[in-house]
Symmetry: C3
Subunit: 310 residues, 3 copies
């Protein structure tokens, strides 16, 4: 019997339930436990094709590294919007042809719905590597995996999500993912960067969360502190930005207030939301998170490309 991901698209985190997450997590555990001689055979001879209409070096390299770590090859267009391949060609044609050149397609696109549309066109399974304002399913998977791996569980945890919650698809995907678990979520942000009510309608049906703008007061009982970047461009007033940035920064004083076994996460790249001195604390897990990003993507690729899974 085929594994349930075989030849399937990964379009939205909303298509996942606990069982599906667990399948990817177990495949990831297995891959991490393998030696390189086994790992390099998993998808040997298979090709990942990527199409990034919105350039993202980090996400692209994570996929390329994942594919390489299990023996596969990557090729594609790192900046499809400016590529000569574009020249007025439709998204549909670009997707179609890229899918003829590869065994699995990875798409990043600025528009909501682009990924669902492309998956219908593609001759091969398609993975959404970020689309529109809400969807980044592989980021959600790696976030959950990091929590599960480092905290040994997800249910029962208190999770704080800090920073710019209004923009950034990472936060919405994570909330959708967390809504499958029994977690207590605190959203901590400047008032102007609060989560968008219209985008959380579905989430609220399944997930309880509270909102606050005070970081320091809300740190002490969190098990997971998920920090996001606050981008200057979001502020009309630079002074407002400077003030906000200061109060949502994790520095040595704040780390003293968090639980001993809490974990600090960040989707990276960071600017100065977390000071480098924190890197050496036992709570800092954001680099592990980046590494798990590679591993979970490798697991997903293996499941999609191999009938018998890993």
């Amino acid at each position: 019997m085929s594994n349930s991901f075989f030849q399937k698209d990964i379009v939205s985190v909303r298509d996942f339930d606990k069982q599906k997450f667990e399948t990817v997590f177990q495949a990831t555990d297995k891959i991490i436990g393998m030696n390189q001689n086994e790992r390099r055979e998993i998808v040997r001879g298979k090709t990942l094709g990527y199409l990034f209409f919105e350039p993202s070096t980090r996400t692209r390299l994570s996929f390329e590294a994942a594919m390489a770590s299990i023996g596969g090859t990557s090729l594609g267009i790192a900046d499809a919007s400016s590529s000569s391949a574009k020249k007025g060609e439709s998204l549909a044609d670009t997707v179609k042809i890229m899918s003829l050149y590869s065994d699995v397609l990875v798409l990043r696109h600025q528009l909501d719905g682009s990924s669902r549309f492309a998956a219908e066109i593609s001759e091969k399974p398609l993975i959404n590597a970020g689309s529109g304002t809400e969807e980044h399913p592989t980021q959600a998977i790696l976030d959950l995996y990091t929590i599960r791996k480092e905290k040994k569980k997800i249910d029962g945890l208190k999770v704080g999500i800090v920073g710019d919650l209004k923009y950034g698809r990472t936060v919405y995907s994570l909330l959708y993912a967390l809504s499958n678990y029994n977690v207590d979520v605190k959203l901590i942000s400047p008032p102007s960067l609060k989560i968008r009510a219209d985008s959380t309608y579905e989430i609220r049906k399944k997930l309880q969360y509270t909102e606050t703008s005070d970081l320091e007061e809300n740190l002490d009982d969190l098990d997971v502190i998920y920090v996001t970047r606050i981008q200057k461009e979001r502020f009309a007033d630079i002074e407002e930005y400077v003030k906000v940035r200061g109060s949502y920064k994790i520095g040595p004083e704040l780390v003293n207030k968090i639980k001993d076994d809490a974990i600090i996460m960040h989707p990276l790249p960071r600017l100065d939301e977390i000071s480098p001195e924190i890197d050496s604390t036992k709570q800092a897990k954001y680099f592990k998170q980046a590494q798990y990003g590679k591993d979970t993507r490798a697991a997903l690729l293996a499941l999609i490309l191999n009938e018998n899974g890993i």
Copy 2:
């Protein structure tokens, strides 16, 4: 005994005869019939080096995908004319060094003759991926293969070539290729985009063709309808362009006039010469053609790199 392509350059479609085409076609059939475990061993450990002085994402990716599908690796310069590697370095030096880094070289260059020149410099066999105004031998190979595969033969067919026949090396390479076969060719284009007489002197010795500007009247007995892009830049007068574009567009009405077992081809990317509604007709073969592009290139690479062929 070595296969006849072993360690040989592919510079011009004029160097091909029926026998050579047939060798590549049979190798392509073989590769398509192989399972992945066999295919990925064909050129494992070998490296393709590409030099695109005229960027062409589509052609480059087709070669990369071909090389990956038979187990090889690709590297090179996607935009050699703007590359830092250029810095006033001669074409000869760039070719020479790239050929020291790889087992086979793939060159795209805007100048006629560039490929022949580079092949003499290169330490390794060189494949012309498009040069000057007339030569694109691997495109001609994939075009012929598509006809042979989808129509089961080439001799005896009526082939219409539609659109901009003046510019675009694809058309000239295809005509040279077809001149090896017993085909009846109709060239259908706006008067201002007729084929260049000076470039078809050699072709006319071997190939009969008729010229017309009326698409609709000439569709009904064609076996192959090869559509090319009509580019706005070719027209001084935008109104002339709009008029011309309209009359050389394959839409649902025109498809009703073509033979049931005709095939529609296009080198892609397309703009609106073929409307997307045509994609689902049984005559539409342009996406298959793109896929055969990968397969024929893989076959060619295999023949060039392996003494015993495939």
Copy 3:
């Protein structure tokens, strides 16, 4: 017992002694002697991550080709300073994450000390592919290997280094490398492009060299003539540049004055410091040198990634 390079950084040519050079040379000889079936297994399944903050297509492709020739994969950022990955991210974070995605890191950076700093951050061994004004250790290795291979020895040779000795890290790295041997060095340059005294303080302790500005007078007893590019940008006065360029050019007349068994080297790319007519002389070794660049880098990668060496 592990080979002495296993999992070690290659940061500076100053960390090398005769013994270490010899280890790389012997590994290179071995790799060159292997057939492809053996070679492609050496680092199969392993990944090289590159970060070029200063773009260098040539050096990057040499590393990619080296990695591919021994069965490995490369990925990374070809222009890290303009990459979206940059976006204000620190060098430390970029290096850290790239090192989580790969088994060995290759860094090119404009700042002195960048490589030492990055090696401390990196989770994986790091190879300096050029940093600041003085360090380019893999270039020095390939230069020495070329001399040893083509002259059968290094000790006892008379080595002339010609051209722009003031700028260009290649020259400094080569001098450091040569200071481990018993060689007689002549530095031949326009007065305005003489070697920097402050950068050769350490070198002078171990290496004797003489300086001159007359190329023609000093050619006849050299065993190695190492030519470097003279860049226009270095001159305030264009006439001064034209004059200088002319007098440091190796053309047919000058070649007649060199020893029959001398070798001419150049780090490439060249502009017109060596005229193309020289390429076919038996003394011209700069293309072999480029090829040895790939081979020595492959050897180094093999030593770093395989506990038992090659």
